[in-house]
């Protein structure tokens, strides 16, 4: 059984109230989700709080997961991203991460990561982004991985917000065109 199918089975178990299934799911997915949350929040204690909230949400909402509409990891990653961005916005005026990721190379994924059923898709998306202007691709990645607003990204890049928005939107539409 593939990693993704395992995750689907765990979610079904969780929906039926199986605590062991939640533990299995946690073991299979928590490092990935923690990685996603840490990219957005950077502050470890906050990221830990959010990770905990995510699994509590997954336990309560597993019955709502629809395998025909999203892959299980996409569903969980969306919950994790939403909760982390939620927390980031709740900080309000507190400074966001000062990491300059605009030019940072994204880490390669570990070869042994059996969890993700999207390795193929990931290569295609990465290839499509790589065909864009490197600066545009870097900004799209920053927006996605760090959960930053257009406003924050524009300030960091030192470019007008309108320019930045059009780079991102046109870039993603081109990316989708490459994927089709």
């Amino acid at each position: 059984m593939s990693g993704a199918l395992n995750v689907v089975a765990h979610l079904a178990g969780i929906a039926a109230g199986d605590r062991a299934a939640l533990k299995h799911l946690y073991d299979a997915t928590s490092a990935k989700l923690f990685g996603i949350i840490l990219r957005i929040l950077a502050e470890r204690s906050e990221a830990e709080d959010v990770l905990q909230e995510v699994y509590i949400t997954v336990w309560r909402k597993a019955a709502e997961f629809d395998a025909t509409r999203a892959s299980p990891i996409t569903w969980m990653a969306t919950i994790a991203r939403n909760r982390a961005i939620d927390r980031l916005r709740a900080r309000g005026s507190r400074p966001t991460t000062t990491l300059d990721l605009a030019t940072e190379v994204v880490e390669p994924s570990p070869a042994a990561d059996a969890l993700i059923d999207t390795a193929n898709d990931a290569r295609r998306v990465t290839a499509a982004l790589d065909r864009l202007d490197p600066r545009h691709a870097a900004i799209i990645r920053s927006a996605y991985y760090e959960g930053l607003t257009y406003e924050a990204l524009a300030a960091r890049e030192g470019i007008p917000i309108g320019t930045l928005k059009s780079w991102v939107r046109r870039g993603l539409i081109r990316m989708r065109g490459e994927l089709a």
Partner: protein
Amino acid sequence: MLADMVPDDDAVAIDFALGALDGPSLRAAELRLRRDPEFAADVARWQADLSPLIDAVAPVAPPPTIWASVERELFRGLVAAPASSAIARGVGAAVNLWRGLAFGASSVAAVAIALLVARPATPVAEAPPALLAASIASTDAAKAILITATYDPARGAVILTPSAKDASHGLTPELWVIVGKDKPLSLGVIDLHDPQAHRIPQALRSKLTGGATLAISLEPAGGSPTGQPTGPVVAAGTLTVI
């Protein structure tokens, strides 16, 4: 100009799926997400298109304490609270009482009374911090009490006791605290089905004081993506010291 080649609808769906909006534009997109299924489907498609990017995120092993907290929160919150917490035992009793009673306002009153009675009869050397309670009533004309919340500062948790039928309509209820005229602060997503001990993040505990408002809004799966309520606020109540 090239930017004009991006249709407005696509632009907003992209912005929202990325999570790059803030302020009024975010508010507007959220409103649209609830009212416009086509727009919601667009957002979901963009989220799906972008999701392979998570493959490139390096996993980071969380500390073992996280799993312990998840387990404690979900499975021991009501049944086997720390032995030192007489309050928790009292709440357990109240929950049993709640289970034995029919739904409705009268059972809420009974639970509230049970909570009062359940406070330790013999004061220990150090007085326990005061409990705060709120009856969170629906914001519609009926004013039906949806949930009773009791905040126990000693545990850093709100004990939530639903008292009416689940009114979440398949959406995710999220709990908020509002202090004075400040913006609502999220206390996380909750459940309207079962009694639960809902942990409050350390940083937000100081906000739960007498006079603060607890409110519940209905949000998309996973809770509000913005840090502010995006769906209808279905219930609210004021915290008072009990």
